[in-house]
């Protein structure tokens, strides 16, 4: 009974809503909805963050206000600490991530496109390896590669390759078979089918993997820098916490968040250029 009356109510309001001025009210609503959906939560969050420590409702020593954090970031930028840590961290991430792309993309294309039976055979093993918690493996990497740059880049590579590999394989395997038929009836050989149909058709899925990889790479970077490092943003955060320079710690946290966003947006930018033929707008992870 209750659900029935709710349905009636819903249709009622729908019809009255339409009878006013459908076009105007629709666009008007949508415009504001978009704005609100996009930025309102962030705005309210920042506002509360600013107000609560200022009023003393939250201890400002532990959680400084956004303005204090911004000022600290500016100071750390001026004295060169932040830029050098960013450079160190970014170079680690880009090296590990780049290496993962270099290995996992071709491997994924080959496994999904040319060696499907082999892929079927190794898939369970790859899944198990991909599921292994990378933080538990970090000591293993350190044992083999030492505590320097190599072990960090290697662990980032290790973490990043899985989503890239799995998504590339899936992307290639899920290409609509009728497109391959079209290519074959057009007289294309195996390599051309791959180049002209399989690769472009799989790009959207491949990019999902690349973006996931970038996120994983950042997670791993900070983890690795916190566990064993003397430079980088993860080290800055850890170090600042230990010596109770809380604003510095927060400056590091915010920088990491901003860099993550920047990396994700950059990949999204490339992705949109390459897959502009897709009707759907790609949503932000």
């Amino acid at each position: 009974m209750k659900s029935k009356s709710e349905i009636v109510d819903a249709t009622d309001s729908l019809t009255t809503g339409r009878s006013i001025d459908p076009k105007f009210s629709f666009n008007f609503l949508r415009f504001f909805k978009n704005i609100i959906h996009k930025y309102a939560a962030i705005f309210v969050f920042l506002l509360l963050w600013q107000i609560l420590p200022t009023l003393g409702l939250v201890n400002p020593i532990y959680i400084p206000t956004p303005t204090v954090i911004a000022a600290t970031m500016w100071q750390l930028t001026l004295n060169g600490i932040l830029p050098s840590d960013i450079a160190v961290s970014l170079s680690r991430v880009l090296a590990g991530f780049g290496l993962a792309l270099l290995v996992a993309l071709p491997l994924g294309f080959l496994l999904g496109g040319f060696f499907r039976n082999f892929e079927k055979a190794v898939n369970p093993l790859l899944q198990v390896l991909g599921q292994a918690n990378p933080f538990t493996l970090l000591p293993v990497f350190i044992v083999f590669l030492g505590i320097g740059e190599l072990s960090k880049i290697a662990i980032i590579f290790w973490v990043t390759q899985w989503p890239v590999l799995f998504n590339t394989v899936t992307g290639i395997k899920d290409v609509d078979p009728v497109l391959v038929k079209v290519a074959r009836t057009a007289g294309l050989g195996k390599f051309d089918v791959f180049r002209k149909v399989l690769i472009p058709a799989s790009l959207p899925t491949v990019f999902t993997g690349i973006r996931m990889g970038a996120i994983f790479a950042f997670f791993m970077l900070i983890g690795a820098e916190m566990i064993g490092s003397t430079s980088g943003l993860g080290f800055l955060i850890m170090e600042s916490q230990m010596v109770m320079e809380i604003p510095n710690m927060w400056a590091g946290i915010v920088t990491v968040a901003l860099l993550g966003l920047l990396l994700n947006y950059s990949i999204l930018f490339i992705e949109k250029r390459l897959t502009s033929w897709k009707q759907e707008t790609i949503s932000f992870i």
Binding site: V182, A186, G187, A201
Partner: protein, 256 residues
């Protein structure tokens, strides 16, 4: 089955849906191999796909990352230079009534327009035979009628041999010179019926309401009815895989 198709003929293969007409077309296209028997074109046995056969698939099968024009040039890229193939593609797009839509991506086109692009693409390689696998199954009824008329005009103008697969009796009669009725299991050609309706009257008159049309429709329906019943009985018992095997067994020899 033994089936020979004349040059310039519009042959429609009519059969109940579900059980393996597409396999037959795939074999002519060279995409699948028959387990037994052979298909030959002008006396040469078909061994694989070739540019002497253009295929239009049931789904639109356009490459979504290519514009209408680039979809049509797709099969020409191996052996025609860029300017030449774009000129050919423009001509065929205009033939199917899509001038002005060259730069649109598939998602910007309606179902009917997408299938027009697919037809233009199949024609652009200037094949001897056009193979069509229920090409209008996915478009709405009104668009379908327009596409049928246009297809008839285009194939007549270009003197193409057409093998067209459908499960719609009306579509079959409207398009065909001859209709081959295919049984469901095993997939053999049961009967071949001539459609003695002139092409001119198909464009102009409302032929679907003539007694002649009704007579052929009735005849085909009688032939098809038991196959539909049979296919529903057998198809519920077996997998599509089995279906394919059974149908392949029956294809012995086809001459185009």
């Amino acid at each position: 089955m033994n089936l020979s198709i004349e040059k310039g003929e519009f042959l429609v293969i009519l059969g109940p849906s579900g059980c393996g007409k597409s396999t037959f077309l795939d074999i002519i296209a060279g995409l699948s191999e028959p387990d037994e028997g052979s298909v030959s074109l002008d006396g040469n046995v078909i061994k694989g796909p070739g540019l002497d056969r253009g295929v239009v698939f049931q789904q639109y099968a356009l490459l979504p990352w290519r514009t209408a024009l680039d979809n049509v040039t797709f099969a020409l890229e191996a052996n025609t230079d860029k300017e030449k193939r774009e000129e050919i593609a423009r001509n065929y797009l205009s033939l199917v009534g899509l001038s002005g839509f060259e730069d649109r991506y598939p998602y910007e086109l309606s179902g009917g327009m997408k299938q027009r692009v697919a037809i233009a693409r199949a024609l652009a390689i200037e094949p001897e035979v056009l193979l069509m696998d229920e090409p209008f199954a996915a478009v709405d009824a009104q668009t379908r009628e327009i596409l049928q008329t246009d297809l008839l005009r285009i194939t007549e103008d270009t003197h193409k041999t057409v093998v067209f697969i459908t499960h719609s009796i009306e579509e079959a009669i409207f398009l065909a010179d001859r209709v081959a009725v295919m049984t469901s299991r095993p997939g053999v050609i049961k009967t071949i019926i001539d459609v003695p309706i002139s092409k001119e009257s198909r464009y102009t008159d409302d032929i679907k309401s003539t007694p002649e049309f009704a007579k052929i429709r009735h005849e085909l329906w009688e032939l098809l009815k038991e196959e539909v019943v049979k296919s529903q009985e057998t198809c519920s018992k077996c997998s599509v895989e089995d279906c394919r095997v059974v149908n392949d067994d029956q294809i012995k020899e086809v001459d185009l």
